[in-house]
Each structure stands twice: as structure tokens, then as C-alpha cells.
Symmetry: D2
Subunit: 285 residues, 4 copies
């Protein structure tokens, strides 16, 4: 079944929900799933609506245009997504492969509605992994200068028509220009429970602080390091038996699962960003 998914946000006001559901009801759509959330603190309306698009009577363009007219009259911010489109996802990685392997194997198992046209790295270490799966691997060392290196990365993303960039333990800070160009389309995994332990060496600092749980945070990249909108977080209980390197090893599980959950939410068009927060809708499976 082909599905159409609309993501909508606007200032809160009466009648939006009825107007939107009417719009699709009048066009004889079967509404598969409709979720609405009003943030009473921010006075803001959020909505995700999923439609059976198999027997559409209009073209996709016509439907989007007509909805655009309604959205304008109601003052809605919106986007529309079609389930038969596979998001083109680039993975950026440095030296450790656990998140990379996890994403690739989930994609192979059909769990992610995405293609992985390429892997980019500032280190040669993961080339072997890329070859195993016959995914092109581009190695751009930082030795050529940060600016030049980033330019190459950005060019490649354009050339490969990439929709989503996943930083799967890519240990480089992106420039503000890169962030700006890709806002809302770069997902990073930070190996700590943000806002605790922002920045480098979180596991060592977690050890020194003596925390009893460690975690991971997947978020959209923003200009301020580790400050972007959080999509998913997870923790693992730890105890005094773990040294800093033990915490690091144990934390890998949490990183894999947190990043995968965030990427999945994005690929299923379940995430809306507002200010520095995300609304992550659940989905019937």
C-alpha cells in the first residue's frame, strides 16, 4: 500500500483538526492514522496524518497543491511525504564501526526505508566494511585542511542526491555553513545522555563523576555543539565495576540502538522540529 504522510504545525487555534480531517474525508481518503498534539505551554498545534493513497483520484501534485491552498488559509507549516520513495542516506563515520554495521544490517533486513548510496570518512579504517557490503567508500583525510575536506564532502552529498546525512560516530565538528545547508537533515549520535557530558571524552567524565547510568543521544546537528533538537535518548545501568574503557564498550549498545531509532523515526516521517525540541509521533506497525 502506498501511503501519503502529512506533517503539520501551526499556532494553536480552534478548528484546524476538523478542517484537515474534512479535507481528506471529502476526497474520500481512508485515514490510516491521525495524531494530533497541542503543546499547551507553547500554544502550538502539531499533527501527523497518514493516508491510504492507493486509489487516489488526483495526481500527487494536484493533492499537494490543493492542500497548499487550505494550509495557506489556516496558516499551517507542512510537508508531504510518499511511502514509495526511498530516502537516500549518506553515512559519515570515523574509526569505529558499530553504528555503521548496525545501520547497514538494518537496511539489509528491510527495517529502514532508505538507500545507502555512499559512506564518507576522514579515516581509512572502515573501508573494509564498506567493501563487504559493496557500498562506495570515500576517504577524505583532514590533513588536506578542514575547509577543503568539508567542501569535498558537501559536493559528494550533492552529487549523490543525498536526502539525509547520518553521523555514525563521525568525530568532526561541521562548519556553520554545512549545518545551515542541511538543517533538519543531519542526525548525529552523541555518546552521552545530553545535556550531561557535552563535548569530548564523555565516558571518562562519566567515570569520574561516578554516574550509575550512561546513555546516548541522537539529535539533529546544530551550530552549537551537542545542542541540537533531541530525537531519541537511551540509558544503560552501570556500576562501579566499569572503568572508563568499560563504560565505552558497554555504551556502544546504547549508541547503536539510539541512533537506529532516531534514523527510523526520521525515515518514517514521524518527527517535527519546533524551536529546539522535537515532536516524535509513534506509528502503527
Amino acid at each position: 500500500m502506498i501511503k501519503a504522510i502529512f506533517l503539520i504545525q501551526s499556532p494553536d487555534s480552534k478548528g484546524i483538526l476538523a478542517s484537515v480531517t474534512n479535507f481528506f474525508s471529502e476526497r474520500d481518503f481512508n485515514i490510516l492514522h491521525c495524531q494530533q498534539h497541542t503543546d499547551s505551554y507553547e500554544k502550538r498545534f502539531f499533527m501527523r496524518i497518514e493516508l491510504d493513497a492507493d486509489d487516489m483520484k488526483t495526481t500527487r501534485k494536484e493533492l499537494e497543491d490543493e492542500f497548499g491552498v487550505l494550509a495557506s488559509s489556516l496558516g499551517l507549516d507542512w510537508s508531504c511525504h510518499w511511502s514509495d520513495y526511498k530516502t537516500r542516506m549518506a553515512i559519515l563515520v570515523s574509526k569505529t564501526g558499530h553504528c555503521l554495521y548496525d545501520l547497514i544490517s538494518r537496511q539489509l533486513e528491510g527495517e529502514l526505508n532508505a538507500e545507502i548510496p555512499l559512506i564518507i570518512s576522514n579515516h581509512p579504517d572502515m573501508e573494509k566494511a564498506a567493501n563487504q557490503f559493496r557500498i562506495p567508500y570515500y576517504y577524505f583525510p583532514m590533513t588536506e585542511g578542514k575547509e577543503k575536506q568539508e567542501e569535498k564532502v558537501r559536493n559528494l552529498l550533492k552529487r549523490f542526491d543525498i536526502d539525509l546525512v547520518v553521523l555514525a560516530r563521525y568525530m568532526q565538528i561541521l562548519s556553520p555553513e554545512f549545518i545551515e545547508e542541511w538543517r533538519g537533515r543531519i542526525i548525529n549520535i552523541h555518546h552521552a545522555f545530553l545535556p550531561a557530558f557535552q563535548g569530548a571524552n564523555p565516558y571518562l567524565r562519566a567515570y569520574e563523576r561516578g554516574v550509575k547510568m550512561i546513555g546516548a543521544t541522537a539529535h539533529y546537528a546544530s551550530e552549537d555543539l551537542d545542542q541540537g533538537p533531541i530525537i531519541e535518548q537511551d540509558v544503560i545501568r552501570v556500576n562501579h565495576e566499569l572503568t572508563p574503557s568499560g563504560l565505552k564498550e558497554v555504551g556502544k549498545d546504547s549508541e547503536k540502538r539510539t541512533l537506529a531509532a532516531a534514523v527510523k523515526a526520521h525515515l518514517e516521517h514521524r518527527v517535527i522540529i519546533y524551536k529546539n525540541r522535537t515532536i516524535v509521533f509513534s506509528v502503527e506497525r
Copy 2:
């Protein structure tokens, strides 16, 4: 703010969501929260809608009557609840008090939208606790015969205008007549992760089976022991260091929290029962 909450279910068909949201939109209600779920496996539609009822233009009766007309035409099962009504909740208990204390203290802290007009027990042990909180305590020993004892309990529930019966570790099996009369209004806590370890002595059996997690299950009581619709479940990780009595002690935390969450979901009108399953809607807080 006074809120009206409608719980709705019906066979799935197109247009229900639009019809219902229109109904309230036309009457100028502010829809605070609307959640819709279609079970694609059962082909069944479920909905919870929460309205700001402060400036209603009709009486409650009129609104319910009008909605009844729409519901009939669409074939909906429904109920309507008003947030300024405090559910009258009877607690039944045997010898252990952890769930009892937990429910009472949550009620005192304003966490539960309920009154606790009485506590009933087949043992005298918890009378002291009831007295501390000045809640009437009725002690009906089983020695007078199960049938007679239960009759007294049922009479008392009627006399006190009880809406909800909570079995907070009440170690007696209720008769089918009792169950039938109170269907969907008795919540029981079972001290295991159902359907594992149904029946007596679950912690001993958990020990013998060597499980690595123990749990608790809150469910609506049904004729078949520990088979009713599950509202909430929870687990705690355990290891080989726990003997059967250690498991029992550790499990108390899980029981308290599971029962409280289930009672809360019921009191907030977030639960719909269908066949032997529950739909438990989340709620904005």
C-alpha cells in the same frame, strides 16, 4: 478547566474521524487532545477526544444526547466523562500494605482524581493503616463462608456508591457473579509478568525457573483467573542473588508502580477494552 472526555470505538469505516471532529468543531469546542487508533489487524476504530468544557453553550445532558444521535447513525460504542467528577474508588486488600499505602499517598498528593471512601479486607492486618488516614475499614473474614463474605462486600460497594474496585493484593478469587456485575470496573494487580506465572506463588516459581527479570501486571478482573485485559506491565531486572523471598521483596516496587499506573489510566479515562485487550491512550500533562 473542566474537561469532557469521549471514548469511542466501532468497526473501522471511512469518515468517522472527520464526523466526530466536525461535531465538536461546529459546537465551537476547543479540542484539547484527540487520539485515534485503527487496529488494522482487527479492523476496528478507537478514539479518545478531550474537550475544553468551560464555556459550553448547552447542558451536559444536551451534549450527550446530541452526540448519542450521531453515534447511533455511525454505529459507535461510546462513553462520556467529566473531569470535575471524582471517581469513588474502593480498595480491597489482604495482609500486605505496600500497594495500599502507595495508592493512598498518591491520592493525598493529588495524583489520582479519586476519593477513597472505604477499605475492605478479609484480614484485620491493615486496619491500623486505614485508621492513620481516617478511612473506614471493613473486615470480613472468610471464616463466615465465601458466599456470605462476598455478599457483604458487594452490598457495601453499592451502599458507598463505588465506581471502581481496586484489588491491591487482595488474595481471594471473586465469583463469576461479582465479576459480571463489575466488568471493566475491577482492577487487579498480579505479582508476575503475565501470562508467565499465573496463579499462586509466582515468585517461588520465578526463582525455580531462574528468570532474569520479574514483573507485575495490572489487569481488569475476568472470570478466568489472571486472564483479564492487561492495562499495564512492568519488570525489574534480577539476578542469581535473590532467593524466592528476595524476589518477593524486590517485586513490591514493581507491583506498586504498575497498579498505580493502571489505576491512573482508568481514572483519566484513557482505557478502552476490546476483546481481551486494552487500548491505553497517552495524555498530555
Copy 3:
């Protein structure tokens, strides 16, 4: 069964474990539980040993003295505790009672090896709760000046022979003198997952940061606010539906359970402090 519990720490060196176990074996003790941990990062040895003391052939004093001789020769820091002594625990509270109710009801249920001789507060709100349980309640408002108020609190703790002070949502910062006098014997509950959201209003800040989990941290109080050695942490998954006040309400569950677990670990003599970290041994139950 009366148990003796020894907590031991020292710089790591060969043979300590054998020497200590020999010491008790020679005296014909049954070792119920022995746990040893070497922190390879800090090169430090930690140990907890639990003995059946029912048929001791010496007095307690003699045993402690003899062990003291061994400890001196090996350079051990140690303490000895006897299971038939009930720790005298004072609870300090401000306006909210969920942790207070939880601790009292656990004590009544026999879950905590402690007495609660008094409750102290800077507000009158919880007096009713104290009266319900017939626990003396001392209300010292801050209006009389912080220094004076604290003096009264400290005098009272002395007068009541208190062993452990539990800050069960006591919203006052203690003076360095107070902290110094009671080092390692004050347990505080912070309503956030430290080191995230130190200081005031953590739930509001958690909302603004858009975290997907909130937590609680129980720690020994230290001069630096929210910086003391962590004993226990816990988190609860949250989503976009929770406003700051919703987070606060949901967080209560986590606070109760985290504080109770930490207090229990302390009362069972399972915690050793080293630098700013804790070793929390598990225990057979």
C-alpha cells in the same frame, strides 16, 4: 540471624583478600557473602564481607579490636556494622510529601532497617502527614534566619542521636559546616539525572532542552551543590506530550524509587565512598 558486616578499602596489593578471609575462617565464622572489587583505574581495593554472628566465640568489641590489628598491618580503612542495630534516620522535608510518604510506608512494611524518630521541615505543610504516623514534627521556618534555623536543626539531630539524615525534597542548601559534620551521612535526592540540570528548576530546563528521558539522582551531600558522590540514579522515558508540570508529576515516581534505593543501600551497609564515587555492593536477599 545476627550478621556482622565489614566494609574495607585500601590501596591495591596482593594477598589482602586471602588475609581477610583467613582471619574470619580461623575464627570459624560462616562467611555469608563476600564481594571484592579492585578498581584497576584507581588501583584501589574494595571489599564487603557479611558474616553469620550468631555463635560468636568472642565479644563484638574483641572481634573489632582483633580485626583492627590486622587492618593496621595491611593498611586498611574499614568499618564494622551489626545487623541488629536499627539506624536512626531523620527525614528533612519542605512542601512536597511523595518521598516522605514513600519512606515512611517502606519503614512500616519492614523494608528499611531503620527508625524514624523525627521529621524536620522549614514549612508547616507536612505536619499532618507526620501526625498520621505519630512521628514528631519540628517546623523551623527560614524567617528566623538561615544560620539560626540550621543551628536548631543540628541541635535536634544531636539530641535525637541521629545516624543518617535524609533530605526528602528539602529545598534548602546546607552550610559547609553542616556538611562537614555529617559527611557521608546525608543523602539528598536531586530531581534530575545528574550531572544534567544541576540546581533549580530541573524539570523546566528539561522541557526546554527537549530531553526524551527525565531522571533522579540520590547522592551524599557535599559542599558543592549537586556534586556529591552518587549512590543511585534512575530515569523515566518521556515524550513531547509532557509540559514542565507534567514532567514534574511524572518525575515523582523516579524520585521516590531512587531515594528509597539509595537509603536502603546505605542502611544495609553496602556503600563505600572513594573520592567522588561510590562502590555500591549488591546483596543476597
Copy 4:
């Protein structure tokens, strides 16, 4: 550092701990980690001791022989393991690859102290995955008869000097002879929280029962299906939005992580089996 690990069990009696620690102390070993557990319900003693074996003054054989003498005199069951030996692990799989991919990538990342000399399957589906990682893949269809097929599998395991068999979603019941030959050396992943939902189609039955959590269980295989000693369990919270196939998809994460944790515990010699239960020691990292 090369480590020697001794796993010990025996009926409980005084002095074992001191005798064992003395044995190694006299031989000037540095004890890295020592864990002792007495099951007071079963009156049984369990122990794991980890030694720095870098500067051993005897051969491995001599040490084991000497320890054997002590063990005989004390009536101990024991085994000894050396950390520089890589366990040879065969993976058996049917049609789904998520556990297979997960184990292989963990092995490649250095997380598992094992080699994977071969993969065996009753289906051709996973051959591609095996080829990607250059691991020999043996496909033995059931069409040739269960007995013959199993004989081929068992011959292959012998020929490849396999130490541990991991059933990574291998959907065939092994014969009692196979089980007997490999007792304590076959780890299976069951896709449910045992003892709930033993046997086939657990996710469908979980849906029908309306559980609010699903899980996975890793256990040693035994003659009775899904009844063997449990090593590790895990659960994931689910809600009414998940259909049977949704539960299946979501459950994969739990299966991967549970199986990996169990395999890791086995490879690190942290598991002792007694009756139908396991003692799983933790380990400093």
C-alpha cells in the same frame, strides 16, 4: 595480560573461600577479581576467580593439576579457562539475519573473544551474508530428512573443532542426542519472555493476550523445548499500536541484544549452571 579464570561450585560449607583464595595467594598470584555467591535456598556455593597469569611460575597443566588436588579434597566441581584462547563458535541460522549480522559485527569490532569458523543453515537465504564476511556457509535442507540433516550438522561441528553452538534464530528442534552431546554449549534465542509464550508464534500470541511488554530469552538448549537454563532476558515496552507483525519487527532489537549479552557472558566464562538456573557473574571491564 593473560588471565586464568576458575569457575567453581560445591555444596556450601565453611572455609572454601579462604582455602581457594589461599591457594592462589600462596602461589603469589594477583587476584584480579573474585566473586562468591552462596545460594542460601539451595545451600550451594558458587565462585568465579580471575587471576593475572602473566608471570606464572608453573605450567598451566601443573597449576590445574595442583588445583585439582585441592578441589578433590574440598569436593568442588570446577573448570579452568585461559583468556588467550579464542572460543570457536558456530552460528546456526534459518531465514532471518538480524541476530547473525549482530553477532558477526560484534565479533569484527572485537567485542567477542571468539572465532566464527562457519555458519550452518537449513535454508539458503543467509548465504549472501556469509559471503560478505567470507565465512563458510553450509546449507543442509530439511528435505533430506531430519535425522540425516542433523547428522551432517553434528559431523561438521566436530570437524571444525567447535566449542560453542549459537542458535541465532534457527527454527529447528534439536534431537535429544544432539542436546546431550552439547549440553551447556548450545545457546538459543527464544523470541519471547520465557516462560510466557513457549513454542511457536510468540508474537501473535503476545498480541492476542494484549501484553504491554514483549521480550526475548537466551538460554542453554535442553531436551524440553524452551525450558533450558536462562542466561539473559530483556523486554521492550509496547502498546496497542503494534500488530503481530509490528511486535515481530520491534522484538528484533530485543532478540539481538539478549543473544549477544548471553553469548558474551559465556565467552567470558561468567556462567555457572546449577539445576535449571544460571549464576551469571558480572565482570570488571
